[in-house]
Symmetry: D2
């Protein structure tokens, strides 16, 4: 295997020229304004070294990637009782589909669907104020990454809140089934701000380190979650992390990973690396077009697929 | 890690006493007649050594596990054109659901659903007679396992054929959309006989060796499929191999695996082992109750989860 | 045919003894508190005479029956443009199902589903305040009935508003598709107050007179809607007026009719009668158990089915 | 009201010039070959007089219109037990949808869906040969019409049989749920031949007379079904007779009616007329484009809507 920094630089160079970059999400103005030519990649290896290229230092809206951090916090708070209120199966439907909730009586299929992440927000909220929860989430992500510069983009949060009728529908619908315990607006306050977390590829890869080595931050040695919980979060990322494109992603890339509509993807090569890529154009399943391609090439050149023998 | 033979023997002993063994499939008489107390396990390690316990030498109806072999053959014959007629996504629905076919116009979501495997049978059939295709499949599986004792249970095939109205519905439905090219009865002839493949745990684990090491049979050194194809089949097994319980299986076990309604499961620990377990009682998703539990314990004690860092 | 008053009295007497009265809706306290032994019937004949029996003078919550009056007003305001935003087909699903809205992109199948009536409320609202719209609706219904005693039960409206998460989900979901033009809470303010209209059987039958004779109130001679519009509203009541029990109601009764979860039904025998029945216990499709039975018997004894030759 | 013959002639003249004639069904060659310029209308009034125009004497494939006669025979043989195996509700889905069968476990929503009519064919078949059943059906329809020239078009039946994969899927699927009791091919033999019934508008209107006057043929005085059964068949025709366009048809036309993919419609004006129209071009719901328009105009000019007061 060639030098990792070389591989990362080559991939960034290839992506710069890629003609088919997908379509930037434009359902809210702050996302729609992002330059489609952006591409960043950061790989933290098992020794804690960071290999990055492209726009790896530029903060972007991580959107649904943040669901991984929200889930991790909720499991810490609620333990396995979380699984009474959210499933662990791929949905076979779009990220914002409401159909499944009707047939399965308000229990979202997994925590990475919008509905599932809203239930997680409800669990995190408890009897607190949304601002307290968001502050805790921000502290948690900053500690994971060891970076204080991570922030919430309030403009993004406000835009989500102003137009998020579909998420409001999901939340009210689950409330009707008793699977949301707190005020819908407060729960969505948590959810929309979580989505508005802004991080660079480097920060995101740093924050994901605990998933690559038995739940332990390999740099600090601090245990974030148990080894079993790290494995399980990885399993959920692999089967459900790319919405209704998760099978395809596993087929092409073969790593646990979570994508966001901002064009970011956090991927984990267990024992080997924590990886973040970002390119704002999305494919037809709502996942980063070039981010996926970059990860596919990285895995080809490193042999990091979990399915490699 | 303790000695593998010891682990396998311990697990078999634990399973012998397990009180909740699930319910044996009884939709056809030959399956319904199987003793629910049966349990077998066989593990072929990276050195080719076989560690087995319980009823590991007893042949059982592998049923849907055979879909892995059918898919491997069809990819060999049709290459990537196979993916024009069958998807690569988990379905979010039961193994025999027809709903998805209506909304997605006759294209099954993945090759491990009944509908998907029927399309694969159609690809395998081509202009041949069903008997030729089945003979080829049998030769292939025997060669993979290096065992001539593997056979098709014609009594099982006949029973499936006599009662398989739901599969006939799926086949006719896909024919209506043009996604079955040959006579429905001949295609189902292939499909029902493939399901009726009878193998022991040891034979099944032997046959699965090509998936554990880059598509190459580690004993013979013979390359069955390319490394990329081996990874991809493993990916499909992980995301789709346990029907609508695939997410749960990945969460608990963390290995690519394919289950069958006869109670068998073939699992792959890439680079480490090919594993077969068998216990006829099924859980509520139609996967072997004790087979899953045995694999969960095997992975806990060996650290073989693909999600382990 | 025996005397109509005699028939009406006989039916009321039969209903008083009926053992199977269905289950009273209890999703809000004010409905759950209603005495299941209540039964009322009022029939206004072609000459304007009122034949009533039982609790025909007692006001009850008309709930979805009010959708007929809301639709009539909206058609008056919006004409056929209403049909760009709501369909005219039975749904094949429950009154509060959200599934159809996803597959048909926010267009409810008909104006008598909750989602359809919410769109109608949005049309009625326009740029007005909810209170103005409700005042207009109340004036309209009072004028139709020629009775000033009709009122909105604010306790019912408040209870609906406090618990109506499913309706909030429907409204937000349609807003996401652009099929709600105004603030969700204001639209639902109109909707919940419309549902809270309280009327007696006699008042309801009086209010329905315009549908029995070419859109003209036979007592006052005042034309409420055109003959074509009266026919069309009747058609919608027959095909869609009893949710997913509309086919069954047409089969048994054979009259255009609209039911409400409060146990009321308004039925129209074109050219012959405007009829209201009320009994709070509901059958498994959410329609009044005894109200339906009473109408079935009325039609048997009068020959008023529209399907009678 | 002007003279009925004049109205009928005017409508035929208007239809001759209509520019938008819909699309002729072409899923089988014999239907695809029909001239889209054809239009026929026949009205049998309460006195038994026949008013016809256009191609009213030309036999066409009545297709699903024959489901009315099949249902009538099955109710005669099975009585209300028929309703244990088929529902009485509009489906909210296409005529050949299989989705509803999965969620409702093999019970079709109504006897006018393909699935429902296949169950009716199974009831009619009993232990007889398909040819006997078809002979009985033909005798029945000839007797209803008082015409011996009515026949089964075997070329049409053969073409349906050769390509009817979707109907085979429906039949096998219901068999899987135990709601088909006899051999699928024999049941479909009945079904496909019933669909291949060939009749002219005049013959079809004659055959429909029993539905216009309390189940009694007004010409012969012979009672075909009870008054209640006639009303109920009319009710089913109104709520379910035009598949997922039944609400729209009721809205525009307001008569119980059954359409067929051959472009024919049988409509009943209770107490007033039995009507048949035919024009092979279909609208987007699969119902005759001009047939519907012609009936709409007939009802406007005669006031025959069942919703007219």
């Amino acid at each position: 295997m060639p030098n990792l920094s070389t591989i990362v630089a080559e991939i960034a160079a290839e992506m710069a020229d890629a003609p088919d970059r997908g379509a930037v999400a434009d359902y809210i103005a702050p996302l729609g304004a992002v330059d489609p030519r952006k591409f960043g990649i950061a790989v933290i290896d098992a020794d804690g070294a960071c290999h990055s290229a492209g726009d790896a230092e530029e903060a972007f809206s991580v959107q649904s990637v943040a669901k991984v951090f929200g889930l991790t916090l909720a499991l810490g708070a609620g333990g396995d009782s979380v699984w009474k209120r959210v499933g662990r199966e791929p949905s076979g439907t779009a990220f914002n589909s409401i159909v499944q909730l009707e047939t399965e009586r308000g229990i979202p299929r997994n925590p990475f669907l919008n509905a599932g992440a809203i239930v997680i927000s409800d669990i995190l909220l408890g009897n607190r104020q949304p601002a307290e929860v968001i502050a805790e989430l921000l502290r948690f992500v900053r500690a994971l990454a060891g970076e204080d510069g991570i922030f919430i983009d309030n403009q993004v949060a406000a835009a989500e809140q102003a137009t998020g009728y579909r998420n409001k529908a999901l939340a009210n619908y689950m409330r009707a089934f008793g699977n949301l315990h707190h005020d819908v607006d407060r729960v969505l306050g948590v959810y929309f701000h979580q989505c508005a977390l802004a991080m660079s590829c480097r920060q995101l890869a740093l924050a994901g380190r605990y998933l690559m080595r038995s739940g332990r931050n390999p740099t600090t040695g601090h245990s974030v979650v148990s080894p079993q919980r790290a494995r399980r979060i990885n399993a959920l990322m692999l089967t459900c992390g790319h919405y209704d494109g998760s099978g395809e992603f596993a087929f092409r890339v073969g790593l646990p990973a979570k994508s966001g509509v901002g064009g970011g993807i956090l991927a984990v090569a267990p024992g080997r690396a924590s990886i973040a890529v970002w390119s704002p154009g999305l494919n037809d399943r709502g996942n980063s077009q070039l981010g996926t391609l970059a990860l596919e090439r990285l895995v080809q050149r490193t042999g990091w697929s979990v399915f490699e023998g």
